[in-house]
Symmetry: C3
Subunit: 319 residues, 3 copies
């Protein structure tokens, strides 16, 4: 086929795609109501990161004297972005779809959005204060960290915790969709998935972090440390929507350490304060406080891969 | 060293790097033939995502009346992008490197590229229809999902499945390189790696997903659910190129659930319809239909970390 | 609340945030000294990738004749970027914070930065040569790779190894912060975390890779292969800063293969040359050369999920 013949076929391609889209309403969102936008959600997170850790990201050279101007500018910008996105999300929840109604106006949504943004800003200083405890925990808990600043600049665990704490406040303010879009953005950047519904205590640390999954109804106390590949999940999640609304995920009390690859499942499972869960442990029952739970060392099979006449020298090999 | 002294050294730096590049042809691609571009491959995926789920991404406010204009515009744009990238990939396969020939023209490649793009567009409605079953499965299978829209907006499993289904069609149309560049882009965003060669049934769901690896010769039936950290892989993959072209990865029949961290290896391994593979199970043999395979609960060692005089209170501790 | 009422509340919001930022110096970086920038670090990596693999990324159509111009342009651009970032990092280490001193000038830092950039460029040809061995290893070791070029275009393992080798040279030149920002950027893209301090031999391959963690004091020999989810980590890392500076991570000798999900911990642990560590193996002791270490196949429990009257047909089921 020549290139111009391909172009000549395009009207038929468009017609067939349009017919298919018309026939399948479930995977299209047409109409005049704007939907929430992932791009805008990311812009909001970038602005909030600059508010939460001023001077590390974005514009540099801000001084203690010029700080109010910089913060003022960021707050103005974020107000516009947040108000618009929250409004979209509220209209979405109200089913104000133009496929259903000619006039998608929702005055109630707009007033509610302004309320929510105001309340969210009021909560930010408290979020900053708890994030300062996370920064200290990330530094104290990692021998490879040279300064607390290093954890702010580039630790994926700290970034994901920051995003989750912000998204969690929006979720508590009843904003649909946006909180999950935010935590999934962090998941994409870090490989760490924390549902915005999870409740996290202060001084929370996740090191390395790739593969961590922390479910919607997890409750975590203060000073908890979690390593890569840890799942705090549900039993039999494949039952899907049938489980909705239940407490499906575990509770982790204060001062618990959960090492890499451990799996802790179930809504009634409680890991007691001060306990240590070893690497790769798979647990569906509660653990009382101050216990250490380890895998009994699994049996390993060793096979010498050398020709027989070369093996004499290792008679003393013992593991 | 002062800054200007550094600049004075640069000609020697360039000379040494150029000499090194000339001496090592294996890791350079010089010449006039354009190679496929990751940036363009990503632009193609973004456009295709807007065709497949119209209204969720990109331009908003499209109505049922203006739909043909929006789809028409996207199809035109994608035709240009796809034709160019497919043409680059075909020329690449033909070895049309300007390091080898003065005239890298390949008329045959250009005609073939137009053919492929036309066939690919003809397949899109069918891909949209199967993706609608994946959206429903993602919602039905996750108690934390509030609406099917949420899965389209931000579920990494659904995104990766979308990219793989599109890349798989390009692979079947014999396009080199581009399909893998696409699935590796999704892998980078989601931590989920599905080789474009894998054959996926309808209503396929991957939840959480970070760490999932689904190999080149995997075949998966309908209504299968896979969780984070699952490997459907090859036995002894370190043998590398020696295994090329063999069926190296397992077959998963309809209605199978594979929980987090399970590893299923080998080209002759078949997981029978309706079976459930438990978390962390490591399997290299087939499982007949309708079986549940669980790890026998591993022995755990508990050690009380409290001073002895504080332990009396837990005499009733049993797990 | 109406939209204009939200705006009227903003001065109070700004005041409260500014007060909070003033009260919490630990999580702010104010003043005139520019800090290192993640955006610039990523720009440096993109430029270095074009130097290391010329023609694959960025500007295409470079010929053997125009190569010196293209390389010259890249080197000039990278010199500016690197000199600025290294200078920021050195001033940062010297504590040249404008919150502490009115004049943050550091002439010593500037001269040192020029020295470091000059030395770094001198090392680049050697880094290119070792990366050529990694490209060959990535191709040879993966039956799904169709050409070595495919591994350069889109293999996450090769990308992460490239970034780590470059960051490792900067770390050896005593540049603070920047090397870790670089490897964490790669971690974000690939799910593979290799600390810039790790020492990697030639022909190193990581396949699939998501979830791999390679710690700061790891030493790896030549021709080593590592698969997804492998941890080369520390024992009891939760002790945190108390362990700083110790050799905490294992040593892997030449020609070792470490399959998916294996965990190898401890600074005294040595995996001897030619050994193979099986999938999911958890090891805290050394293994002598030329051994194969496998999990003794874990006991699995099978439960037939069919109604009893349908089970007769599988009397011959054996696994």
């Amino acid at each position: 086929m020549q290139r111009h013949q391909l172009t000549e076929r395009l009207p038929a391609v468009v017609e067939s795609l349009v017919a298919d889209i018309k026939a399948l309403p479930a995977t299209r969102r047409l109409g005049n109501v704007l939907l929430p936008s992932r791009t805008k959600a990311v812009a909001i997170l970038n602005g909030l990161q600059q508010l939460v850790f001023p001077g590390y990201f974005g514009l540099q050279g801000v001084t203690i004297e010029t700080l109010p101007f910089r913060i003022g500018e960021l707050v103005l910008e974020l107000t516009d972005l947040l108000y618009d996105q929250v409004r979209c999300c509220l209209r979405y929840r109200e089913g104000k779809s133009p496929e259903e109604e000619a006039d998608p106006t929702c005055v109630w949504c707009d007033h509610e959005a302004a309320d929510i943004v105001a309340k969210f800003f009021d909560l930010l200083p408290a979020v900053r204060q708890i994030l300062a405890t996370d920064v200290q925990a990330a530094f104290d808990g990692d021998p490879a960290a040279t300064t607390p600043d290093e954890t702010i600049f580039c630790y994926p665990g700290l970034y994901t915790i920051m995003v989750q704490r912000l998204a969690h406040e929006l979720l508590k303010l009843q904003v649909p969709l946006l909180p999950r879009i935010m935590t999934e953005h962090a998941h994409s950047l870090t490989g760490i998935e924390i549902h915005p519904g999870a409740v996290l205590g202060k001084s929370f640390m996740i090191d390395h972090g790739t593969g961590v999954v922390i479910g919607e109804t997890v409750v975590i106390g203060d000073n908890v440390k979690v390593y890569q590949g840890v799942t705090l999940g549900a039993l039999a999640p494949a039952y899907g929507q049938a489980l909705r609304g239940q407490k499906r995920h575990p509770t982790i009390e204060d001062d618990v350490v959960i090492y890499a690859g451990a799996t802790i499942l179930g809504g009634d499972t409680v890991i007691g304060a001060g306990s240590v869960i070893g690497g790769n442990v798979f647990i569906t029952n509660s653990v009382p406080p101050k216990n250490q739970v380890l895998l009994e060392p699994p049996k390993l099979k060793y096979r010498d891969r050398r020709p027989k006449n070369e093996r004499a020298e290792v008679v003393d090999f013992q593991i």
